[in-house]
């Protein structure tokens, strides 16, 4: 790193986001340190996914700021006024932040290997040989070393999501965002994806995971952020959050999710 930025890897300051008349995020302030694993919990419609999408500027924030590695994401500060940054600049930031989607969004016209090689070749400018080696290595890491030439349609949901994780990892991101990565999977396939996520967390990857998997949140996360109605209601280490939630909303939420 050219600039060993002191302070958190990611910082959100009073972030607001609205869709039409609905204010989805109503002032989010949080920070994530390098190596930290954060699980964002909350009922559906609480703004968790939107928050995640604001971090890499897939959604524009209406006010407030997002700082990654100490620099504004998506905007430039022109004398106090924020102006949207040029596309190439936003793309460079995104290349350093991996994202895994609920519905995988693999490229159906490319093989597993092709999916993973695509961005290293065309965004990072790696040679095809380098990219192939790197892609094969990350696919091996997520347990798909034998599926390099398979097309997404030939893979199970769990395998597809692992390819999607490999695709993000091949960019060697400093931060990984997981947007309900296991919600679209059949129950028996959730485990293999969570296992990969646990391995990543154990290896020191900085992660923010929006999830409904309480087991994963309790074991892998260092911190729980509980959201409801567009605000952070509560922030605590998992042990504390799950045993003694501070807010009534969190207690209600936990009662609903832990007892099906």
């Amino acid at each position: 790193m050219t600039d060993p930025a002191p302070g958190p890897l990611l910082q959100l300051e009073d972030v607001h986001k609205r869709f039409g008349r609905t204010e989805v995020l109503r002032g989010i302030t949080m920070s994530v340190a390098e190596g930290e694993v954060v699980a964002i919990l909350g009922p559906s419609g609480s703004g968790k996914s939107t928050l995640l999408r604001c971090i890499n500027h897939l959604e524009r924030v209406d006010s407030g700021r997002v700082l990654f590695e100490g620099r504004l994401v998506g905007y430039r500060d022109k004398g106090g006024r924020l102006v949207e940054a040029p596309e190439a600049e936003i793309a460079r930031v995104r290349a350093r932040i991996g994202m895994v989607f609920q519905r995988f969004n693999l490229f159906p016209h490319l093989t597993a290997l092709g999916n993973v090689m695509e961005a290293p070749v065309h965004v990072l400018g790696l040679s095809r040989d380098e990219a192939r080696q790197r892609a094969a290595a990350v696919l091996e890491r997520v347990g798909l070393g034998s599926k390099l030439d398979a097309y997404p349609a030939q893979l199970s949901g769990g395998q597809q999501q692992r390819v999607a994780i490999a695709r993000a990892l091949a960019m060697q991101p400093r931060l990984m965002l997981f947007d309900e990565a296991t919600s679209a999977l059949d129950p028996e396939l959730v485990g293999e994806v969570l296992a990969v996520m646990r391995d990543l967390a154990a290896a020191g990857m900085t992660m923010i995971a929006v999830t409904h998997e309480m087991g994963f949140a309790a074991e892998a996360a260092r911190r729980i952020i509980f959201m409801d109605e567009g605000v952070i209601q509560e922030e605590a280490p998992p042990a504390q959050f799950f045993s003694a939630p501070a807010t009534e909303r969190a207690r209600q939420f936990l009662r609903r999710v832990s007892r099906p």
Binding site: N56, L58, E87, A88, A91, R92, R94, A95, R96, I97, G98, M99, F101, R103, N105, L106, F107, P108, H109, L110, T111, G114, E118, A119, H122, V123, L124, R128, Y151, P152, A153, Q154, A164, R167, A168, M171
Partner: protein
């Protein structure tokens, strides 16, 4: 039953005559070049149509509105006769563009308007999640279009494009009006002097049928290779790769 007064021997003798073959070749050139340029224009205007720039979107809409909304025949005559009259100072019109070049220009610009809508529909048929995933990986809009969206859009684009090409083969006969000696004009000149209308129109139609049949077979082949084929084993090699090194 009275026999048809048609000289079949005359048709057979002239079907492969040099003058006819020249007309066929001209029709083929007009159609293939016109179509290729039309696809290029259509792709560019379709990208403008789905862009975030209101000016580009407006330009694309205006283009479609005008060139799809006026007859091709009028456009051909307009390019060749009306524009040089109204704008004599612009050199290209001043005798530098041949009837053939003007014909291709007219066919391509007209075709581009239809292709714009076809390519736009193809682009919009691709799951928006594909663009999101591409952008989350650090791709610019342009790169994502080229590498991720357009290759998938081809499935939807190819079948109607085949139709367009068939239509183009026939529409190219309209440039006979600006004296491009394509298949129909050749037939017309011949029947005017010989008064053998039936024979010459049979010859022309026979050739149009041959060309459109070849076009249909080509479309069928394309669709199976790139279009209707589902994503699966071996599909990657069959896909047109845009700018790939392999």
């Amino acid at each position: 039953m009275p026999a048809l007064a048609v000289d079949w021997t005359y048709i057979a003798q002239n079907f492969f005559s040099e003058i006819v073959l020249r007309g066929v070749w001209m029709t083929l050139q007009l159609s293939v070049i016109g179509m290729a340029l039309g696809i290029l224009l259509g792709t560019l205007f379709a990208l403008a149509r789905v862009s975030r720039q209101p000016v580009l979107r407006g330009a694309s809409l205006g283009y479609i509105w005008f060139f799809r909304g006026t007859p091709l025949l009028v456009q051909i005559v307009f390019w060749y006769f009306a524009l040089p009259q109204a704008w004599p100072s612009w050199a290209p019109w001043n005798g530098q563009l041949s009837p053939f070049q003007t014909g291709i220009l007219a066919l391509a610009i007209n075709e581009g308007a239809y292709m714009t809508e076809i390519v736009r529909a193809g682009i919009q048929s691709v799951d928006p999640g594909q663009m999101e995933a591409a952008r989350a990986l650090g791709m610019t809009h342009r790169l994502a279009m080229r590498r991720i969206i357009l290759p998938q859009a081809l499935r939807v684009i190819i079948p109607p494009t085949g139709n367009e090409f068939i239509a183009m083969l026939k529409n190219s006969s309209l440039v006979s009006l600006i004296s491009v000696r394509e298949l129909f004009l050749v037939a017309k000149l011949q029947y005017s002097s010989t008064l053998l209308y039936f024979e010459w129109l049979i010859i022309a139609s026979g050739w149009y049928l041959i060309l459109t049949t070849i076009g249909s077979v080509f479309q069928f082949w394309l669709e199976h290779r790139y279009g209707a084929a589902s994503f699966g084993p071996g599909a990657g090699r069959r896909w047109l790769s845009f700018g790939a090194k392999e």
